[in-house]
Amino acid sequence: METLVRTYGRGLTALFIGLVGFWILLMIIVPQIRMIERAFTYEDRAGETATLALAIDRAYTEKFQLEQELSGLERAGPAVGQMPSAPSPFAPSMTMPSATPVAPAIPSLPTPGMVPSASAPSALSDEDRTARAEELRDQIATLDKEIAELEAKEDTSSGEAGMKERISLENFTSMSGLHLKIFAMTLLYALTVTICTFLISYPVAYAAAMAETRGKLTLILIGLVIPYASNELLRIFSWVMILEKNGVLNSLLDSLGLIDLAAGEGFRFVASNGAVFSVMVYAYMLFMVFPMYNTIDTLDKAQIEAARDLGGSIWKIHTRIVIPHAKPGIAVGSIITFMLSAGTIAAPEIVGRGLHPDWFSQLIYRRFFEADSWNQGSAYSLALLAACILFILINMAIFKVSVRDIAK
């Protein structure tokens, strides 16, 4: 700290600290904390709104029944100023329970004979009818008030204020079996992608590092950099063109006479887990090559030649000299490849063409933007993040490298 102030002065040091503080707080730490906070906060929004909606429905049904009864009374009784109409075929039921399920019908029926379950007013005296009408009006007024209250409550609960939140693990535990399976499969695929890219790219990195002439090395490096620097989407899309029903692969099969494209034969290679898998191996291959090349390049070639002179087999030379030396590079390559494949949304979205069985990243997207459940989305992304951190830690333990070796 003292050297810092001595070299750059108080003002600049304060500026540096301020900027780094801004970066850490607003872009790294607090956003992560907020996501974790949301992940562990279960919002009982759906439950509460559902209960409210049910209560409101019930109140409306009750009100409707009462109004039916009232209008029946009004029609029947001269006390309310109307001519008695045809008697209802139903027996009077003064104690009609409001719980009787009545299918909501058109509120004001012009033909009284059709009024369902309304009491038969003609069986009652005028006084009784008036009293009953009063009673019904009171009840309806109470219900109106109740409905207004419930509806007000419903309004606030769809905003965040009325949301019932509690700290719990439910966002994680409520992950359905299907989602859990997708999570596990995504990680498994990412791991397989990592291993495949390592196996395929190791000889390439070795060959580049061992290039005898400068010209050859330049050529190899340019050849590696071009696909590496091409856009990720482009690399993914290039494989869609190969795997599609009218794509290159089916055309090849067609020209070999194995299938007949014109007759509508041909495989739909895209939109399958296998397709996403092979596309990811291709798209993220070079993230494995470069870190490995960088470490193998620093190996003293004399070691390999000495081993060869002493009769070491090719297998031994690689397992005992090159790979141990390349450990940090392998660790970096694995971490980056795994992280990219587990966290990509580009590959499953584009290869899937809207039909693909979900990838975990797509689930996260849907939690946020389709299910509108940000807390569950946070929980899902936290699960993904945790898996990646775990993978990094395992790698650091296996390859015995530190953070400083990883991010260089």
């Binding site: 050297t3 810092l4 002065g9 600049l12 540096f16 900027l19 801004f22 970066w23 872009m27 790294i28 607090v30 907020r34 790219s201 000889p203 390439v204 060959a207 090395l217 190899i220 490096l221 340019i222 950099v225 071009i226 620097a229 856009n231 990720e232 989407l233 482009l234 690399r235 899309f237 290039s238 869609v240 063109m241 009218n246 055309s251 291709y282 070079l286 070639k301 004399a302 030649e305 060869r308 002179d309 971490i335 587990a342 966290g343 990509t344 949304i345 580009a346 979205e349 584009i350 990243s361 996260i364 997207y365 989305g377 946070s378 992304s381 993904l384 993040l385 990646c388 953070v403 991010a407």
Partner: protein
């Protein structure tokens, strides 16, 4: 010293002599390398072929004649043009933020050697190791919850900066490690203010790296899909627009854009590699 450097020379001399016979493992390795490059380039070549194919859906095999139609249609597509503008705005914002942040981080870290330095280092490089979609998600949540800022161009700038600044920082740290501290000290001893030394010694020394880092920041931001996908909200960049059209693959216009991308990449990659070789 001389013995140590001489020895490998002698050994490699004997190896080279042995290599006059058939070198099977070397030939095998070269063959593998060739196969690998075919694997890497062939798919991209299909993309390029389809861009010049008159067939109305992107196809490399169903050749219906040469056309430049898909390139001509690009400037008329308002969503692409608008997306391009958004991408450029975002990338400029990212450069403006990432360079000062990366510089500050690098200055602090090269002067801090304690365990606090390791913790700070871990925090500052962590965004590189986090999946892109997680960065997008956290940024989107954070700015909406605490500042009421809806996902859009600004949040995308923040999301990109969080990890691009880390890349810039690593580049600056690598450069600062090669700096001769005596230059700064000499300036200070001769009575210059720290600000003056910073402006006249430190910044000029870092200038080449600042330029490369800006270029890298621009490319990283411009090409990003996974983080942007979450942080952009209902807006779009060129790349997210391309992504959403690729899902349905309806028009070879995306291939035309692809060709432009590949051409730019080839130019940048070749010049960069040649320059790096020359410097080495």
């Amino acid at each position: 010293m001389t013995a140590a450097t001489d020895m490998p020379g002698v050994v490699s001399g004997t190896i080279r002599r042995r290599k006059t016979g058939p070198d099977w493992s070397g030939a095998l390795l070269n063959g593998y390398l060739l196969l690998f490059f075919v694997y890497m380039f062939l798919p991209l070549i299909f993309v390029v072929i389809a861009a010049f194919n008159a067939a109305p859906t992107p196809s490399a095999t169903d050749w219906q004649g040469f056309t430049l139609r898909w390139f001509m249609e690009l400037p008329q597509d308002t969503r692409f043009i608008q997306g391009l503008w958004h991408s450029l705005i975002i990338a400029s914002g990212v450069i403006c933020l990432s360079i000062p942040l990366g510089l500050s981080g690098a200055f602090l870290l090269t002067r801090l050697q304690s365990s606090a330095g390791t913790i700070l280092y871990t925090i500052l490089v962590s965004p590189i190791l986090v999946p892109g979609i997680v960065l997008g998600v956290t940024t989107m949540i954070f700015w909406r919850d605490y500042f009421g800022l809806q996902a859009g161009l600004l949040t995308t700038v923040f999301a990109h900066t969080s990890f691009i600044a880390s890349y810039c920082m690593l580049m600056f740290m690598a450069r600062l490690q090669r700096q001769d501290p005596s230059l700064e000290e000499a300036g200070l001893d001769l009575g210059a203010t720290p600000l003056f030394v910073f402006r006249r010694v430190t910044l000029p020394f870092l200038m080449p790296t600042i330029l490369t880092a800006s270029g890298l920041a621009f490319l990283q931001s411009f090409e990003n899909y996974n983080t942007t996908f979450f942080a952009i909200g209902s807006s779009w960049t060129l790349v997210t627009e391309i992504g959403s059209r690729m899902r349905f693959g309806l028009s070879p216009m995306i291939n035309a854009i692809g060709v432009i991308f590949i051409a730019l990449t080839v130019i940048i990659a070749v010049t960069h590699t040649l320059m790096a070789r020359k410097r080495a």
